[in-house]
């Protein structure tokens, strides 16, 4: 198992190197940093001074290694717009994004797996059909549309939930500002979390149902029923555990999507997270912020995938980690 983790780690490092190289290319070829830093009206001499100061006169590979070295030290340079270190900007916004993503994932997993099991037990009854049609809508509605529809229903028509920002936040542990301990913060969290979680929920629901329907036909389930075990044990312990394997794989593959859609969600609800920061950076061509965001999300995604791989071994001991 350690061997496998080690192999995944090396693979992760390779991926990170490739990503960092792509980021470096973004830095070099899209938008001229000299022009941005020296200003549009700088003289040729001033431009050269900036170029030498930033090391942009050195050969390509030297610049890449300098970039890598700085990145490893967490130094992605200054934001062109805010003129402050980029890493700080992102770290400041990250707690809000993580809170939103975890809430969404929680909603997706509980409702997705819960409803999926419910539907698989009585696949033909009326309620199941309603839930399944609902899930088809869930995968057919893009996240931004879900968000706007939720705003229209709960904020414009019924006026019961706020749609803007994070509400009251309190500070815990030095830097982490959180909204989950205040009623106002929680109220602000509901709509964005459901918006972000809805699509994943529909995906997981359909996967769970498919898996359960297959597993429930197996002989060992019939044996379990015949032994007179309680439905709770048969359904959750014998059947669900085996049906969950594809669900876990899928949930693991969804992290990238989750981050992508958190950008959309954060923009709709003006959620002060990293995704919103990225969008602003895109509109303002603030490359250091974009690059740092990309590196950051790559590390998070690779780390989470490793975590899922390990978890996978626990639910399915048949996998031997060759």
């Amino acid at each position: 198992m350690y061997k496998c983790i080690f192999r995944r780690l090396t693979q992760g490092v390779v991926v990170l190197l490739v990503v960092s190289f792509l980021c470096f290319i973004i830095f070099q070829f899209f938008g001229d940093p000299v022009l941005t830093l020296a200003g549009r009206y700088a003289t040729k001499a001033q431009q050269d001074a900036v170029r030498i100061k930033m090391g942009l006169d050195k050969p390509f590979y030297v610049q890449y290694f300098v970039f890598l070295k700085n990145a490893l030290h967490g130094d992605f340079g200054l934001s062109y717009v805010a003129q402050t270190p980029v890493l700080g900007l992102i770290l400041e916004r990250l707690p809000a994004s993580i809170e939103l993503a975890i809430s969404a994932m929680f909603i997706a997993l509980t409702f997705g797996i819960g409803l999926g099991v419910l539907v698989s037990l009585n696949p033909r009854n009326f309620m199941s059909r309603i839930i399944m049609s609902g899930s088809l809508f869930g995968i057919s509605l893009p996240t931004f549309l879900i968000g706007i529809l939720l705003i229209m229903i709960f904020s414009v028509i019924f006026r019961i939930l706020p749609t803007f920002g994070r509400g009251a936040v309190i500070k815990i542990a030095e830097r982490w500002r959180t909204g989950i301990f205040t009623i106002d913060g929680l109220r602000h969290l509901i709509l964005p979390a459901f918006t972000l979680g809805m699509y994943q929920m529909a995906v997981l629901l359909r996967l769970t149902r498919g898996g359960m329907l297959e597993v429930l036909r197996e002989d060992y389930i019939r044996t379990a029923w015949a032994k007179g075990l309680s439905p709770r044990i048969v359904i959750f312990k014998h059947a669900l555990k085996n049906a969950l394997i594809p669900v876990v794989t899928m949930a693991g593959l969804q992290f990238g999507e989750l981050i992508a859609f958190s950008i959309v969600t954060e923009s709709i609800f003006q959620w002060p997270g990293a995704g919103n920061l990225l969008l602003t950076a895109v509109y303002e061509t603030d490359h250091p912020v974009i690059v740092a965001y990309v590196m950051m999300t790559s590390i998070i995604i690779l780390f989470l995938n490793l975590l899922v791989d390990i978890l996978y071994g626990y639910i399915n001991p048949k996998i031997r980690y060759e």
Binding site: S140, L207, Q254, I263, I301, N305
Partner: protein
């Protein structure tokens, strides 16, 4: 066999509904210049005094603006029809281009294995964990000029791995069949074996992937345009219409968002219904399970 399949198709309510929805939307898109009451991008036809009109059945609505107008005075119905053209263009282009690249690479890497297979599959793993959506967003975010072509490119650069992966899987299972060995024994060339014996048998799973992918591409284009990194402002897009409309929902002008949203939903819903049917038809054992 063929007619039996057709019979099952006609009997399947959701498959027929899905196809009908798609056909109607497609006709609307193709004949948009003929059907649409107005050309929403003809500047001479736009009057600001017609802006933000409600639908024709509401108070203040006026002909010919059946579904009302947006903030520029554009007819919503016409803009939707033109927007569907963009959606279908992106959808079809993506599945055609990504499909061709993916099928070729998948076929070769499944047939010859070796380094090509390793590289393709590792690349596929990495792309899957980052997701097409995220990569397309970042790609277009860095790019400065935007048009329908760049949107298609942004989706295709990662999307082909879906096809490559599925194709490789089918090739690996078909390759060991007796009829392939038989073909080899009588001296058929690699190319002939691939195209004539392996490809046709590996196509059905690809069809499912293509159907799901079509819906995903349409949604992704709308999302990208919604974020402002998709098609340019002077081109019609359902996602951009929703993006404009969201500024007016607090003012109660719901028609700016709701109708483009319904159009988008219908296209994706239609293809997903069809994909569901296809999935059960091709692989009846796994029903309504996997979505991607």
């Amino acid at each position: 066999m063929k007619s039996k399949r057709f019979y099952r198709y006609i009997k399947d309510i959701s498959a027929v509904t899905g196809s009908l929805i798609l056909i109607i939307m497609l006709i609307g898109a193709i004949f948009a210049p003929v059907i649409a009451p107005r050309n929403p991008y003809d500047m001479e036809n736009l009057y600001l005094k017609d802006s933000l009109l409600p639908t024709i059945w509401m108070e203040g609505g006026k002909a010919p603006f059946i579904l009302g107008t947006d903030d520029q005075g554009r007819d919503i119905l016409s803009t939707i029809l033109y927007g569907c053209r963009t959606s279908f263009t992106v959808g079809f282009s993506v599945i055609l281009i990504a499909g061709m690249i993916g099928i070729t690479i998948g076929l070769l890497s499944g047939f010859y294995r070796g380094l090509l297979e390793t590289v393709t599959m590792r690349l596929a793993d990495a792309i899957f964990s980052f997701s097409t959506t995220l990569i397309a967003m970042l790609f277009l975010g860095v790019l400065k000029s935007h048009n329908v072509g760049t949107v298609i490119l942004a989706i295709v650069i990662t999307d082909w791995v879906r096809y490559a992966r599925t194709m490789r899987g089918s090739v690996l299972s078909v390759k060991e069949e007796d009829y392939v060995s038989a073909a080899r024994a009588v001296g058929a060339s690699d190319l002939r074996i691939m195209l004539k014996y392996i490809l046709p048998n590996a196509i059905p799973p690809i069809l499912i992937v293509a159907a799901v992918d079509f819906g995903a591409a349409v949604m992704l284009e709308a999302t990208l345009s919604f974020l402002g990194v998709g098609v340019p402002i002077n081109k019609p897009s359902l996602g951009m219409m929703v993006s404009t409309g969201k500024n007016y929902i607090y003012a109660g002008k719901w028609w700016l968002v709701v109708f483009p949203g319904i159009a988008l939903l219908l296209i994706v819903f239609g293809i997903n219904l069809l994909a569901d049917w296809l999935r059960e038809e091709i692989n009846p054992k796994i029903s309504k399970g996997k979505v991607s």
